[in-house]
């Protein structure tokens, strides 16, 4: 069969490891051959499934902290007279160096926090752009909540929405900084709002550093093209984000806070 030679190389093609010219020929063939297209689709699904299933284990916060401390330790150097002179010089400029160090650390810290908010916004947009934004489609919180059982390493409560104006569309698993979490999608007056729930310990930042009442956090959130709210409760970090009004975002957040 003509397709046999294609099938032999199908995995290599899907891994993007065949030369560009051959890639184009392959693309053209797959478009016209139902058998190869079906095979390619099945293999792509398998690749995606392995990718999700493969991200299975996360280190504990305690282990991360220990490793961070270990790696941050500078290598020992042999002391000699030259080094002692250098050490004296270092003492003289200690104040300047300390200030610089704190500024650098502060820069990294703020960059990390901005990165988290930016990722949340990306996850929200990417999901809504998808043709199948939710993996569990249900308006019933008693269906959606148990769906997460065994998929994420924590439990959380979903609020009762009766007469609130909000409706639950469904949920899906998500990842942020390689930590698993829950992504729930709500609707209010045709606006979609995402609620993300992660374990607080998944983040390298302490919980207070994400407090939106801090002016620096408020400034970070203000940069996003969405209204947002974030808080920590019972060891879990919640993010609510969407293009609905800030009042709607706050109302949904309030319902979650009351349910937790």
């Amino acid at each position: 069969m003509v397709c046999e030679s294609w099938k032999e190389k199908l995995d290599t093609y899907l891994d993007g490891e065949v030369p560009e010219q051959e890639m184009r020929t392959f693309d053209a063939h797959v478009r016209t051959c139902p058998s190869c297209a079906a095979d390619a689709l099945a293999r792509v699904q398998m690749k995606r499934a392995i990718q999700v299933a493969g991200k299975r284990f996360t280190p504990s916060a305690d282990f991360r902290k220990r490793m961070q401390q270990r790696v941050a330790t500078k290598p020992k150097r042999n002391l000699n007279f030259g080094w002692m002179l250098a050490a004296a010089a270092v003492i003289l400029v200690a104040g300047v160096l300390t200030t610089t160090y704190l500024e650098t650390n502060s820069g990294r810290y703020l960059a990390n926090r901005d990165h988290i908010f930016s990722e949340i916004a990306d996850l929200h947009v990417e999901t809504l752009a998808s043709s199948s934004p939710v993996d569990v489609v249900s308006t019933d919180r008693h269906t959606v909540k148990p769906w997460f059982q065994g998929k994420i390493p924590f439990a959380f409560n979903l609020p009762e929405l009766q007469d609130s104006g909000f409706s639950l569309l469904g949920g899906r698993m998500t990842y942020l900084d390689q930590a698993p979490g829950a992504h729930l999608i709500y609707d209010v007056r045709k606006h979609h709002i995402s609620v993300f729930v992660f374990q607080e310990r998944s983040f390298s930042l302490d919980s207070n550093s994400l407090n939106p009442k801090l002016p620096s956090v408020a400034a970070s959130l203000a940069k996003l093209p969405f209204n947002t709210e974030t808080w920590s409760q019972n060891g879990l970090r919640y993010f609510v984000i969407g293009d609905a009004s800030q009042a709607d975002i706050d109302s949904l957040a309030k319902l979650f806070k009351a349910a937790s």
Partner: protein, 197 residues
């Protein structure tokens, strides 16, 4: 993650190595299949890498270098030595590809939406198949990066990856467990009969 000489500062190790921490840990636990052993393996990897950082070749792939240290450390550990006793040999011989089926292992798996089924099948793979699948699909390494990490030629990467995928698909076929048990029972019976002769 290529590192040029100009960028290599004394404190670069932390900046380069810590972003890989979660993925290295995930890879370590897949290899060891034990949380404590995975922590020991990651800790030893970082200690070795920190010590050898000055000898790290500038301009080469830092991520592949870290994974290579972790893997070599694993292979010389007690668990690593035990699991590699049963690793199938790499051969260039490939069996014929199966024709497209209406009910492929892939479609069956998706119908069941069973991630645990896939994880269980991956757990059961020989360690050299498991690691190459993780490097390709989870870490999204190129064949060149995988070759550097495993210290094997690209041709071996391709053939091993192909065999790993086939082995995984076989494990996802319905009745795999039953067939494996039946096979063991048959072999035991034959062996017993032969002893009788």
């Amino acid at each position: 993650m290529d590192v040029s000489g100009a960028d290599l500062k004394p404190d670069s190790f932390e900046e380069l190595a810590m972003p890989l921490f979660d993925q290295l840990y995930n890879f370590a636990q897949w290899l060891t299949q034990n949380r404590d052993e995975a922590e020991d393996l990651v800790q030893e990897t970082y200690t070795k890498a920190l010590k050898g950082f000055s000898s790290f070749q500038l301009g080469t792939n830092f991520r592949a270098w870290m994974y290579r240290i972790l893997r070599n450390t694993f292979l010389t550990s007690r668990t690593g030595l035990r699991v590699t006793m049963t690793v199938p040999l790499d051969t260039d011989e490939e069996g014929p590809e199966l024709a497209v089926e209406h009910e492929t292992p892939e479609t069956l798996m998706f119908e069941r939406s069973n991630r645990e089924l896939l994880q269980g099948a991956m757990d059961g793979l020989p360690v050299n198949f498991r690691e190459i699948l993780l490097l390709c699909e989870v870490e999204e390494m190129s064949y060149q990066e995988i070759a550097e990490t495993l210290s094997v030629p690209i041709g071996t990467v391709m053939s091993r990856l192909s065999r790993a995928r086939r082995a995984l698909r076989d494990r996802l076929r319905p009745g795999f467990q039953e067939a494996a048990k039946a096979d063991i029972a048959t072999r035991t019976l034959v062996r017993g009969t032969n002893h009788g002769l």
